[in-house]
Symmetry: C2
């Protein structure tokens, strides 16, 4: 793993521009990436030949349909997604808020499935979105339940950066929150990743009792009032437990 194709990895810079831009001309890519024109030209030609970029009639580029194929393969092969979907739908219908499924990916959490509501004002999370393990209810419930050594290693040289108005940036407070989550079996966050939003999350375990993912209810902060919380906590934990059971988990 020391050895890599630098050219290949470098070309990724061009592809990444399409995470934030739908269509780009050759020149726009040159300007945005800061890579010499000739090199961009070569890289784009390669991505196009592979099918990851598509050139339309006017000569502008967008992401290729090949991503549909690979993307769906990945989605299909994630069996936790299959196991979780029905319970997620029921939870969404019961609480009328968006429901998310979140996986750990190294030192980050990644949103792999979402169910939206029909509210005129709604939270809109992108699948594939990442968050650090210390911010947001889903991330933190994962952090709370990973093995202690891993957690300590992560916390040891962690720099807490504020992401939104409510992000926890005090390590002592973070540890306290993790303790509480382990004790109560859920975690709650207010405006940690996005202002005016709140997230309530419970852990999903595999047959061996290891944390595998988190399921969460997310919505506007104002709708998560004190009276409503107990019911939501109960429901999200029930949904999480249902999925865990399906994956072979037996409560200790």
């Amino acid at each position: 793993m020391q050895n890599k194709n630098k050219t290949v990895v470098r070309s990724m810079d061009v592809l990444n521009l399409f995470l934030t831009h739908t269509k780009l001309s050759m020149n726009e890519m040159v300007k945005l990436s800061g890579i010499p024109k000739t090199s961009v030209h070569r890289m784009v030609g390669s991505w196009e030949e592979m099918g990851f970029l598509h050139r339309d009639a006017e000569g502008t580029y967008s992401l290729g349909l090949l991503f549909l194929q690979f993307g769906n393969l990945v989605a299909e092969r994630l069996d936790i997604r299959h196991a979780a979907l029905p319970a997620m739908e029921r939870l969404r219908d019961a609480v009328g808020e968006a429901v998310h499924l979140v996986l750990r990916d190294g030192e980050e959490a990644i949103y792999i499935e979402k169910l939206d509501t029909n509210h005129p004002v709604r939270l809109f999370t992108k699948i594939g979105k990442k968050a650090p393990l210390y911010a947001g209810a889903s991330s933190r419930i994962i952090l709370a339940f990973i093995p202690e050594e891993e957690r300590e290693a992560y916390l040891a040289d962690l720099a807490l950066e504020p992401i939104s108005s409510g992000t926890i940036i005090d390590k002592a407070l973070l540890r306290e929150s993790l303790e509480r989550s382990r004790a109560t079996g859920y975690s709650f966050s207010r405006s940690e990743l996005e202002s005016y939003t709140a997230e309530l999350s419970a852990p999903i375990f595999d047959h061996a009792g290891r944390i595998l993912a988190a399921i969460s209810i997310a919505g506007l902060e104002v709708t998560f009032d004190e009276e409503r919380l107990p019911e939501l906590v109960c429901r999200v934990k029930a949904a999480a437990d249902e999925i865990s059971t399906q994956l072979g988990y037996r409560r200790p």
Copy 2:
């Protein structure tokens, strides 16, 4: 476009192995691809660094979660998919068969959305699946409605290869079928891509009257009997027209 990063394009061979394999070890990739061990090692390292491959605990590789992100971006940016989904759902519920949305992609057709049924025996199409433009109802309805010059250019040096038991391999028959489709506004296929299956498809047009996609009802051949066809034809054409209208198409 003459100039390409050969290294980058060559690495695609390794990634493509994952279209047919869920997990692969380093050695399996070496054997399957026929590329020297050292080179595979380098390529895999690059894909991993980019996030397109993921290495699990046992040292085997699978497609990375990054594909979820890119795949969903592509899906979201295809506005025809948004426009078509509600009509597709209603069609699926009305006829109780799988419903597909198919786009043209150069000289091929590509399935970009599917709605499955709950039948115990059901057709299962993968999103991203490709088919030549001459085989299958959806492919052929697209071929029937593209501009005449393009169609003639395609037909000119076309070698008709049988794909399944019912594939049309006679160019005269193909032309005849295309004529009929243009006249009737739908196309029907039996066992052209997959034995024992049938597909019934209607064209979707954009505001300028160009064919943009095809919608189709697909299922087991035995369930598409003569008495049922007229109703199915009516329904699939209605769904297609609805989507076309939504995209700004006005019937001539």
